[in-house]
């Protein structure tokens, strides 16, 4: 279990917001935690995989896509806020995220 450093939540939030702003060509000011990635931004499912890769590299995470996938099936993350929340869980629990209810 990784230790969450001070400022990590803010850093994750900034990266996620910047990512969707850049990829969806939307001003960062227009994004909110309840913005739906598919319906509001015309995003796609690959975006989450790309974000996962970004965070794996940034924090040196030991996490496999299949374990994240098991969690996502039970807890879909459709909004920016939900994606930030799930990212924090992945950073905290890494591969053990699949064991969470």
């Amino acid at each position: 279990m990784a230790k969450i450093e001070n400022g990590t939540v803010e850093e994750v939030r900034r990266i996620v917001y910047e990512f969707f702003s850049e990829e969806c060509e939307v001003s960062i000011d227009e994004l909110k935690d309840d913005t739906n990635v598919i319906k509001d931004l015309e995003g796609d499912s690959l975006m989450f995989l790309e974000l996962l890769e970004i965070f794996k590299k940034k924090y040196g995470l030991n996490v496999e896509l299949k374990t994240v996938g098991k969690y996502v099936v039970k807890h879909p993350a459709e909004t920016i806020g939900a994606i930030i929340g799930m990212t924090m869980l992945i950073i905290e629990h890494e591969n053990r995220i699949a064991e969470l209810e």
Partner: protein
Amino acid sequence: MGRKVVITGMNIISSLGLNLEENWNNLAAGKSGVAPISLFDASNCETKIAAQVPAGFEAYASTFCKKRTAHQMTRVTAMAFVCASEAIELSGIDFNAVDRRRTAVIMGVVSTGNSSVEKGAASRNRIIKSMSNAIPAWISLHYGIEGPSYSVNTACASSAYAMGLGYDMIRSGSADIVVTGGADSTINPEEINSFNEMYALSTRNDAPRKASRPFSRDRDGFVIGEGAGIMILESEESASKRNAPVIAEFAGYAVTSEAYNIMAPKKDGEGMYETMKLALANTGVDPSEVDYINAHGTSTMLNDLYETMAIKRLFGDRAYAIPVTSSKSMMGHTIAAAGAIEAAITALSIRYQMVTPTINYDDPDPDLDLDYVPNNSRAHKINVAISNSFAFGGHNATIVLKKY
């Protein structure tokens, strides 16, 4: 008796331009789109020339889709997408006002061109960029088209086959509208070198604009082109219901297999003759009614000889009175896109009652003595026209178009 099929929209992207009007104007003016290759360093290739889509394409394409989507497309997929977007706009179709489940997308695709020339090919989106169904997928996704959506590969006849399948769907009543055509680019070192191994390409590097010379005695192979051609086929009832402008009637077609050789056409143009004959029979058109032939006309020794022999056999003495032109003399061979691009040119020829020339025809081959419309376009009365596509592997197609 099936339903009548009409063309209500179309578009071309090629070395001669990024839209239909630009292409037609350059074709009518007899311009060549062939130049030294700039997409990659071709100094080590035997052939160093090609008919490339103008350099402004990427900037132009960026106005049609979001940056993220563009990064998930190859240059070929983007050509098809942009070409389809403008063809659909020309047709005036409002997809909120038609039954999307009765609309199909059928594309002729050999590959999406995810070659070494493609920027970033080795990194992101490799599968999405490479999958050969990407072109119909992006079009159906963007417009919410919910009927059948797929690609067909028969090499240089791919988009001709695609149009034929679209025609069948409308005629049989299983679709009202079909977005069809194809796109291709083989301008990359791997494929240039492979075509050179087969002695298929012109090596007239010192005179690029003179290199594609169909039916001339000194022809030395085809010139690779790239681009996209899109046709919007529609039932006459559907077009009439929404008061759509009709460009021409898609009257019928035939596809055959030569079952002869993986590369060479069947001796004396036997397969080509059978394909043209069957297309006319399928359409109920007598050979005496044909006013214009847009030839496959590759500028290779065998194709041009055999296509000429096949035309003479089918049309008899009248063959000498029918203009036979090769659009490839100006825009090179666009492989999977060629059938649709040349069918679109044929439709424009009917619309404007004018045939575009076979350029570089300045050294006639004594064995090839038809009216190839040398070097200058010409006004010509056209009620019925055919467009030929003859592919490696023996996949043949002939499309029959009529004035509407």
